[in-house]
């Protein structure tokens, strides 16, 4: 379960236009320059208080992660000026800490090994399906699309255990279908994440793919391009920004996930979130480890998030402003 989901609920056209207009203005306001001051002095104070309240928790952990071990355990981070001292030791220790099967450094690599395929695979498959839903005419299209949409709200808790049994035994309803995959590396997590990501990815990408003007598609068809070429030569380049924003969400989703990892990534393929959660349980008071560990895990999503912010905001509004 990730922290954020794009807005994907169907709302009426009027509000869609309104949101789209606002999103454009937000883009301008955020990345352009605005001149107006805050509405009133009280509003300024309130905004500052909220901003401060929201920043303090992360800030405290960040400062603490660089403080010497004995200082963290005995004094608060706000006394940094009285108990001056900085160190990188916590990070060095945290990277080597872990359980009997893997260290945090390995878990960090695992997180990449899980996240990158689990982002590329579902988005490619979803893009294929999104194209079919948007540009191919077939009977039952609406019903199928609504079914896919409804699936995204179904809690993944409903699917976890039977899927685990399928991987372990290869049976569906007791009928043997495939040989058990067993716990061969990351395969289970990749497949599980792909399956769980599809409904949302199809819905969001469909909104973008169907936005392409039909004249463009028609022109390509007249020129003799088949669906394969249209997909590869037109849809793919034209929806690249959209794909990027959906990919960012999927990346953050998988990187930050704990539930799927707990069930499908055991032993030495566990991602960093799982190891961190475990350490919080076992060594909950070893703050020198936890603060540094938390920031090792946070570093990647924060970099992705800050550098690709524009796509992120656009993606967040995707479901409601497009389609």
């Amino acid at each position: 379960m990730s922290a954020v989901m794009p807005v994907d609920l169907p709302i009426d056209d009027e509000s869609k236009k309104e949101l789209a207009r606002g999103a454009r203005r937000a883009d301008r306001d955020m990345f352009g320059s605005t001149k107006k001051r805050l509405t009133s002095r009280w509003a300024t104070v309130a905004a500052l208080v909220i901003a401060l309240l929201w920043t303090i928790p992360t800030f405290g952990v960040l400062i603490s992660s660089f403080r010497p071990r004995e200082y963290i355990q005995t004094t608060g981070w706000w006394t940094i000026f009285e108990n001056w001292g900085w160190t990188l030791d916590n990070y060095a220790t945290a990277l080597q800490a872990g359980n009997s099967q893997l260290t945090m450094a390995q878990a960090f690599v695992n997180s990449f090994a899980i996240t990158i395929p689990a982002t590329v695979i579902p988005i490619s498959i979803a893009l294929l399906a999104a194209y079919a839903f948007a540009w191919m005419d077939f009977r039952g299209r609406n019903i199928l699309f609504i079914l896919v949409f409804a699936l995204q709200i179904v809690p993944i808790q409903m699917a976890l255990i039977p899927l685990l049994q399928l991987f372990a035994r290869g049976t569906i309803f007791g009928i043997p279908v495939i040989e058990a995959i067993g716990s061969a590396g990351y395969a289970q997590v990749w497949i599980a994440h792909t399956m769980f990501a599809l409904p949302l990815a199809i819905f969001l990408l469909h909104n973008f793919v169907s936005e392409i003007p039909s004249e463009v598609i028609e022109a390509a068809r007249v020129d003799g391009a088949g669906h394969g070429q249209i997909f590869f030569r037109l849809i793919l380049p034209l929806t690249m920004p959209a794909i990027a924003s959906v990919a960012i969400f999927q990346f953050l989703w998988v990187w930050n996930d704990l539930l799927v990892a707990l069930i499908f990534a055991d032993g030495n393929v566990a991602p960093i979130t799982k190891l961190l959660a475990e350490m919080t349980g076992n060594r909950g008071q070893d703050w020198y480890l936890l603060t540094a560990g938390a920031f090792i895990a946070l570093a990647v999503p924060l970099v992705v998030f800050i550098s690709l912010q524009r796509f992120f905001v656009r993606g967040l509004l995707a479901g409601s402003t497009k389609g």
Binding site: L19, A26, A46, P57, A113, L128, A159, L166, T291
Partner: protein
């Protein structure tokens, strides 16, 4: 497939990423290639199509190391499909194209979500080992144990508090900073928590909540504030029933940024004429906000509330990492996992089904909305 996967898993993780992504993209390219040549007429193309129809499903199952009967069945189905495709309304190859685009997703959804959902529903009526039918026993057990009722009440508390508070905070913040200098930086500060995992956020907040004995120096910021104000250190995560509230704070902290981004866009979308008209009428800031802005962004508010409600219903990571459900803080999703860990498959499934029933109205409502929209077009 397990041989291939076993071989892959012996590689260096970075190489593994390359191999898997490469192989996968190759398969997609192959699908697109067949789609492109599918509608062409001529004997060669027909033969290629026939070969693809039979070979694709059979090879797939062979690759998955399926049983012989299944591989043969898949091949026969492929053959059937080939003839269906030849007589398709859109001409030979049209069904082939459609299936090539849709089948990967459809198969994965079927195997990964639809069938497991049905299995979980069945499982919830079975005993812990899934061997005998026990009727509603699992549900009766859930609703008769006081600690389980507590779990359900906790979940309801989550859903009642988290969406409302984060929406109000997000709305207020979005309105306060609207069109100000430095709006961008204000926004980043509040929506930064969105990038943080629930696990990371839980560690951050556990650190905020840490309590030390009254005579020692505090290392948790909130307890330091209490001590500064002359109070006694308070164990935030241990004292019922307030500990649930302090867990909810973490979700609010994360979701406010989400609410803020959406509502900020909605506020900017409110027509300027309406705002100017309100100003001409001499309304003050508060009246303008309540009478013009809020009605103007009502749909966005509903979207934000629903989305956060769904997130709070399914909340798992925060509870798992912060307390693991101790001191009566458990919620349905956490209890579902706990029961699974203690090999109570039936009870675990029953919890999942309750969660499913709780989101059901939202699913149905939204599906109906979507249907209406698509019919209009």
């Amino acid at each position: 497939m397990s041989d291939f996967l076993k071989w892959v898993s012996t590689l260096n993780p970075w190489l593994e990423i390359l191999v898997i992504v490469g192989v996968f993209l190759l398969v997609v390219a192959l699908i697109l290639f067949f789609v492109e040549i599918a509608p062409r007429s001529g004997r060669t193309y027909t033969i290629v199509r026939l070969a693809a129809c039979v070979a694709f499903p059979a090879l797939l199952l062979w690759f998955l190391q399926s049983y012989q009967w299944a591989i043969i069945a898949a091949g026969v189905l492929g053959l059937l499909f080939f003839f269906l495709d030849r007589r398709a309304k859109g001409g030979a190859g049209s069904l082939f194209q459609l299936f090539a685009f849709l089948t990967p997703a459809a198969l994965l959804l079927l195997v990964g979500l639809i069938i497991p959902t049905i299995q979980t529903v069945i499982q919830s009526f079975m005993n812990s080992r899934g061997t005998t039918f026990v009727g509603f026993d699992n549900f009766a057990w859930i609703f008769s144990q006081p600690q389980n009722l507590r779990v359900i009440i906790n979940t309801i508390v989550w859903v009642l508090i988290a969406p409302i508070v984060s929406t109000i905070a997000g709305l207020a913040y979005a309105y306060f900073i609207d069109k100000t200098r430095g709006e961008r930086y204000y926004k980043i500060l509040v929506f930064l928590p969105m990038a943080i995992s629930f696990v990371g956020a839980s560690i951050i907040w556990r650190f905020m909540y840490t309590a030390r004995p009254a005579d020692a120096e505090q290392i948790g910021f909130l307890n330091q504030v209490i001590v500064w104000l002359g109070g006694q250190p308070y164990n935030f995560l241990a004292v019922e029933p307030w500990n649930t509230i302090f867990l909810i704070v973490v979700l609010i902290w994360i979701q406010t940024g989400f609410a803020m981004v959406i509502l900020s866009a909605a506020i900017k979308g409110v027509p300027t004429e309406q705002l100017e008209a309100a100003e001409l009428d001499g309304t003050n800031g508060w009246q303008k906000f309540i009478n013009v802005v809020v009605p103007g962004i009502r749909p966005a508010l509903i979207v934000v509330l629903t989305t956060i409600s769904i997130a709070s219903l399914k909340v798992f990571d925060i509870v798992r990492t912060m307390t693991a459900g101790a001191n009566n803080t458990s919620v349905i999703a956490n209890e579902m996992y706990t029961q699974f860990r203690s090999f109570e498959a039936g009870r675990s499934a029953a919890f999942a089904v309750i969660l499913f029933l709780l989101v059901m109205p939202i699913v149905i409502y939204n599906a109906i909305q979507l249907k209406k929209q698509r019919e209009v077009r």
